[in-house]
């Protein structure tokens, strides 16, 4: 019964989007985390989505869920600031701020939460369809 697959597919969508929300929250929370060296500075991280193609290859299934391949750190240059008075400043008076673009993260957050909601609605209406099917022929 392919309607049951809707639950698993929208479930993968929900979990992928919640990973995305999670990384966004982490990025925004650490947007102002200052450190005194390049290595220790927080870098913006983003999930990489991919269709679950290996499952599609195993069965003759056309419809696939989504999976999170991994979380990658952004390669954008860090924000280096000259602030000799800062308690975290290094020997030359520089502090290092994360390469988080807060505006980008906010739009990411909206997009992720909307996608999550859409997946929830999919599961909800699949549930209604199944419920109606289960009561088929009852008075």
């Amino acid at each position: 019964m392919s309607l049951f697959n809707v639950f698993s597919i929208s479930g993968t969508g929900m979990s992928a989007q919640s990973v995305r929300l999670n990384t966004t929250a982490s990025n925004i929370a650490n947007a102002d985390s200052v450190s005194s060296s390049v290595d220790q500075t927080y870098r913006a991280r983003h999930p990489v989505f991919a269709a679950e193609m290996q499952k599609a290859a195993a069965g003759q299934n056309e419809s696939v869920g989504v999976q999170v391949l991994g979380v990658v750190e952004s390669n954008k240059p860090l924000n280096v600031e000259y602030a000799p008075d800062h308690p975290m400043a290094d020997g030359e008076g520089y502090i290092y701020k994360p390469n988080v673009n807060v505006i980008e993260e906010m739009t990411n957050m909206i997009s992720a939460s909307r996608s999550y909601q859409t997946n929830v609605q999919l599961a909800e209406s699949a549930k209604n369809m199944l419920n109606k099917t289960l009561t088929l022929g009852q008075r």
Partner: protein
Amino acid sequence: MAISFEKAFGIHPQSLQVRAKRAEVIASNIANADTPGYKAKGMDFKAALAQATSKQQSGMTRTNEKHFDVRMELNNGVGYRVPDQPDTGDGNSVDVQVERNLYLENSMEYQASLQFLNGKIKGLRKAITGGQ
């Protein structure tokens, strides 16, 4: 006169099957709305329904894993959609609004089929119980 359920229900059971499959395909599109490189899939309803009614799922049974797999792979009427905009930047061709509307439409049509079936069942029940 024997009651033939197959004749009484007509095309609606197959129609339900195809609609459920279509719901799955559209759900897959929406779940992958943010996946780079994912291409939206659609369903040729006419072809899928024709295939479901003719039951052309022919193939040979494999009783040993060394047997060749000679199933006839009919593509269930599923194909790729022609995207509205040529390039979205990441190779994804899912239009979430379109897919949501299609899903809604499909779900309403599924429920319409169910209503038809319910009506048929009611009629049959009346025939069996003599309207009591």
